[in-house]
């Protein structure tokens, strides 16, 4: 029999202080019964001899100090998992949202998980073909990688994310990805776009969706990504599936974190975000990966919108320090009408080198991508120069680089939303473009590959 306490002494924002308690543990789950009978949940944030600080997941509107009853459940927040999770849509707290039945859990997992032992990690090295040249060719994704999409308001990151979820596959195998999708604070229209896209393509059968909309309680967003990742870990490491986790939008998650931190009157770090934002984000991002001797994997694609397109804002900044690269969606390319507007120069995939090359994609891949990067960077420099001095003032070689940059954006970056471009086609376009530049300039490519591919 659980004890009920009627001893709430104060409520401030999402935080509730309960007094005269006994035998309560740190981070235990709490149930609060409001005066009108409504049940809401929260967890213990701080605990001393007779006082517990509780953070409510679904807000405190309608809570009164006198009549509310508090029960400590003696366990941390858990997710009941079973293979039936697949094909279902849940809300941000893990309750069914699709009018379907409750899940009968095979087991219950703590949503905070435990850190993967670094010694147990297998290094991600299987190339994932997303069918998008700017990713496959320039910033390849591998199984077990965490690669965020840095976007901003008004850019087509949702379409790009959905395209990746649709097309992603490992070459030479028929294995398909299961997709676990977590939405935090996005609008109904955005979530509807994803659900419809998943339904239309049949992907929903292999998906689990956790949706917290913009008008759902903000505090619930703290647990949404953890539920998502716990479900993903179950699919990957218990059911041997390859899981692609998409979390959108991390910016809203961080704002909820800030809200709680402010309510706790903690000393704020940069821009009011708590000093532990890095550690907190890492506890999510680092759950991606592969484990030795296990078949499954978690590949993680968080999406965040950069406030004011600013890459140095704490959220993208700290994310970039934890994740293994980033894909940057550019407003400039979007304005030019290029889809997908991926700006390859500041984008990066840290794990690419073990995932590409002979036997994985093609032996020249690494050299070609380095050379394309270098040429495109020079082409963009030439373009800037041409703006100041006029195109006529460019040297002959700079004119070629300029031409390269224009064509690169037009044929390599640009592709149709439904175009699933194979990696060999991507490389062929790459070589096509490199032929614009004289051979002596291509210093990043080995002789043997130049001999083989440059002259056709």
């Amino acid at each position: 029999m659980l004890k009920e306490y009627l001893t709430i002494s104060s409520v401030s924002g999402p935080l509730v202080v309960v007094e005269k308690i006994s035998d309560v543990k740190y981070s235990e789950l709490v149930e609060v019964q409001f005066g009108d009978g409504e049940l809401r949940r929260g967890k213990v944030l701080e605990i001393s001899d007779d006082k517990a600080l509780v953070q409510m997941f679904e807000g405190t509107i309608g809570l009164d100090v006198l009549n509310a009853k508090v029960r400590f459940l003696g366990r941390t927040q858990e997710l009941g998992v079973s293979p039936d999770l697949l094909g279902r849509v849940f809300d941000g707290a893990g309750r069914p949202r699709d009018n379907g039945p409750q899940i009968i859990a095979q087991k219950r997992l703590d949503i905070n998980g435990n850190p993967i032992n670094p010694n147990a990690r297998a290094y991600p090295s299987e190339f994932i073909q997303t069918g998008i040249s700017t990713i496959d060719g320039m910033n390849p994704l591998v199984r077990g990688q965490k690669l965020p999409l840095f976007s901003a308001a008004g850019l087509p990151h949702n379409r790009l994310t959905a395209q990746i979820a649709r097309q992603a596959k490992v070459l030479g195998t028929d294995e398909k990805f299961a997709v676990v999708f977590g939405a935090m604070g996005i609008t109904f229209e955005e979530s509807d776009f994803f659900i419809r896209d998943f339904r239309d393509t049949g992907a929903i059968e292999r998906s689990i969706l956790f949706i917290n909309l913009a008008n759902d309680p903000a505090i619930e967003r703290i647990s949404t990504p953890r539920l998502t990742l716990t479900a993903a870990e179950y699919l990957a490491f218990d059911l041997d599936m390859h899981v692609l986790v998409i979390l959108t939008d991390m910016t809203f998650y961080c704002e909820s974190l800030r809200e709680i931190s402010a309510a706790r009157k903690e000393i704020p770090g940069r821009r009011g975000y708590p000093g532990y934002l890095y550690t907190d984000l890492a506890s999510l991002y680092e759950r991606a990966g592969r484990i030795k001797d296990k078949k499954g994997s978690i590949t993680f694609l968080p999406v965040l919108t950069m406030p004011e397109d600013d890459k140095t804002h704490p959220i993208p900044d700290l994310t970039g320090y934890i994740t293994e690269g980033q894909i940057i969606v550019s407003r400039e390319l979007h304005r030019k009408g290029i889809y997908p507007p991926v700006d390859v120069l500041p984008s990066l995939s840290r794990l690419k080198d073990k995932g590409i090359g002979r036997g994985k994609t093609r032996e020249d891949h690494s050299d070609v991508l380095n050379q394309l990067f270098a040429c495109y960077a020079k082409g963009k420099e030439a373009r800037e120069l041409a703006v100041i001095l006029g195109e006529a003032a460019l040297s002959d070689i700079d004119k070629l680089y300029l031409k390269f940059a224009d064509q690169f954006e037009d044929t390599f970056v640009r592709q149709d939303e439904s175009e699933d471009r194979a990696i060999l086609d991507t490389l062929a376009i790459g070589w096509e473009l490199l032929r614009i530049i004289p051979r002596s300039e291509l210093k990043r490519v080995r002789e043997e590959y130049l001999n083989k591919y440059y002259t056709v």
Partner: protein, 580 residues
């Protein structure tokens, strides 16, 4: 003794009462789960404990077990090739106990208690020994001869010494101390991590720590026993540069501390180091490496300890007379762990919320580096170099951690976002970076490479600086309006950048360049400049000069294997002939 108990839990901070008589920085075990913690503040009966493991599920009233000794590491044979967490628990043993995910309260000693080591004594009974004297050796790996030393604070006459196969806890010698007490010596030494290990004497470092990275060894070298930092925004290549140095530097032991970084990077080290060969000995690199890994999702308090654990292990190897390098990636994460604990202790914050003692802690840490004379009567020398990565928010160098670090380190390798975006790696900005070891190392470089190397470097640096200002002018007036002399400077600087400074860490040959090869590449690049400059004066056509086929040959010299010096001679010949 009164039983201490938990009074309050707030994340990794636990407050316990009934702790009268304990000391600051004593280690404790919290709750029945026996979580490891350390006392960081004392108020009468209350102890503030930072707990190195996740604290969910523990609550007030649970017991706290006092150990009355500070957080220490075990030093002895078996550390090399091992991967530890921040408080020296071997992760492999943890895995066999708790599976693929790290459970809490796992108690594993730092050194394997079952493995037998072959101990060869090097002293006889009756020998008088003092702290640091070598009692005997163990061939830990083919690269590391582990020396068992008399622990600090022990001296006397050896009354017993054994030879043969022992586990680390076996007594291998007995020393009769001056007071007449028999001191039993095992192969383990315990040492508190926050305390520097004693040395005899420290002196200025005069030998370079070569790293095989051209931009570092030629332009911004670090000395054996020196300190360096690599600050840079994310994606600029800090970790790749750190890995490259760990792989190719000529230190004898590498301690790699992955502090609050990515788990996959640790997996990469573990995966690649057994396969990569040390260029000097041909043995797998893992045989000289100790890894301390506290990834970003592992408990934050243990992250704070991991740096000290790493440097203490390094000092122990230094005391054997080895040249050791500690790579700390990244010190910003360590500083953030300090900040987090400071916030929970409700201390008054300094800059950016960091505690006021941030800079003194950083200075203390880097000062543990140095070229030293070890304890022991043979006066052997050891060196401890520290290289720290710093991850300032947004790459902003005014960050307090960067500034505090720059005040103490002697070498600054500043990584540049722009270079990284153009895929110029290592993205070390040559105009921003500096090394204060040039003068110290001069003599050594002159005697081992060439005196000319130093003047070539200065000349190349001058061209790179001129390039920066010439490019400004070219941007305004167009490149055509520059004189041929200036355009030659631009061409040469470009060649220095692309053919010398740019280095591909993933290319099998390019990843490591010996000092000798660096010298010969730079010599050719600069030789082209001086010859072409003369030719321009003589009225030779500029375009035909820069289009000489020998230039392409020069640009590919970095891909020439170390054992083919004749390629350089050929290129030198060709340069001479084509400009006759």
């Amino acid at each position: 003794m009164k039983q201490a108990r938990i009074a309050k839990v707030s994340g990794p901070l636990v407050i316990a009462d009934g702790c009268g008589g304990t000391k600051m920085f004593d280690m404790v075990r919290v709750s029945e789960k026996k979580l490891v913690g350390e006392i960081i503040e004392l108020k009468k009966d209350l102890a503030y404990i930072q707990v190195y493991e996740e604290t969910s599920g523990i609550g007030p009233g649970e017991p706290v077990y006092l150990t009355n000794e500070p957080l220490s590491v075990e030093l002895g044979p078996g550390m090399v090739s091992t991967i530890y967490d921040g408080i020296q628990r071997p992760l492999e043993a943890v895995r066999s106990l708790s599976g693929d995910f790290i459970a809490r309260g796992v108690d594993v000693p730092g050194l394997d208690r079952t493995k037998k080591w072959d101990f060869k004594p090097s002293v006889k009974t009756g020998h008088k020994v003092s702290p640091g004297d070598i009692l005997g050796t163990i061939d830990e790996t083919q690269l590391i001869k582990h020396k068992i030393m008399v622990p600090p604070g022990v001296s006397g006459v050896v009354s017993e010494i054994k030879a043969g196969s022992f586990i680390v806890t076996d007594v291998i010698a007995v020393i009769k101390e001056d007071k007449g007490i028999d001191k039993k010596i095992t192969m383990i030494q315990r040492w508190p991590v926050r305390k520097q290990r004693p040395i005899k004497e420290k002196f200025a470092p005069l030998e370079p720590l070569t790293t095989g990275q051209r931009v570092i060894d030629t332009f911004f070298p670090i000395a054996k026993g020196g300190t360096a930092c690599i600050p840079g925004p994310f994606g600029a290549g800090k970790t790749v540069t750190m890995h490259e140095i760990a792989k190719w530097s000529d230190a004898q032991v590498i301690v790699y501390v992955a502090c609050g970084e990515r788990g996959n990077e640790c997996a990469d080290l573990l995966l690649s180091f057994p396969e990569l060969k040390d260029p000097r000995t041909g043995r797998p690199l893992l045989e000289r490496t100790v890894i301390v890994a506290n990834t970003s999702n592992m408990p934050v308090a243990a992250r704070e300890a991991s740096i000290y654990t790493g440097v203490t292990i390094a000092e122990y190897f230094r005391d054997m007379g080895y040249s050791v390098a500690v790579m700390a990636d990244s010190t910003s994460r360590w500083a953030e762990a300090l900040r987090e604990m400071s916030g929970r202790l409700e201390e008054m914050p300094g800059e950016e919320g960091y505690p006021a003692y941030l800079s003194s802690r950083i200075a203390e840490f880097y000062e543990r580096a140095g070229k030293i004379v070890c304890l022991g009567s043979d006066s052997r020398q050891g060196a401890l170099s520290i290289i720290g990565a710093v991850s300032p928010p947004g790459g902003d160098l005014s960050d307090p951690v960067v500034q505090a670090t720059l005040r103490v380190v002697k070498v600054f390798w500043g990584l540049d976002d722009k270079l990284a975006n153009a895929r110029h790696f290592p993205a070390i900005n040559w105009l921003l970076s500096y090394s204060l070891y040039h003068d110290n190392l001069k003599e050594h470089v002159c005697s081992t490479v060439s005196e000319e190397f130093i003047s070539l470097r200065k000349e190349a640096m001058r061209l790179l600086e001129e390039e920066a200002s010439l490019l400004e002018i070219a941007r305004l007036v167009g490149i055509e309006s520059l004189s041929f002399d200036d355009r030659l400077i631009l061409e040469t600087a470009k060649s220095i950048r692309e053919d010398f400074l740019h280095q591909n860490a993933f290319h099998e040959v390019d990843t490591y360049t010996s000092l000798q090869k660096q010298y010969r590449i730079l010599k050719l690049v600069m030789a082209f400049y001086s010859v072409a400059k003369r030719k321009i004066k003589e009225g030779v056509d500029f375009d035909s000069l820069i289009k000489l086929p020998v230039r392409e040959k020069i640009s590919r010299l970095k891909y020439v294997e170390e054992d083919k010096p004749e390629e350089f001679t050929k290129a030198e010949e060709e340069l001479k002939n084509s400009l006759q």
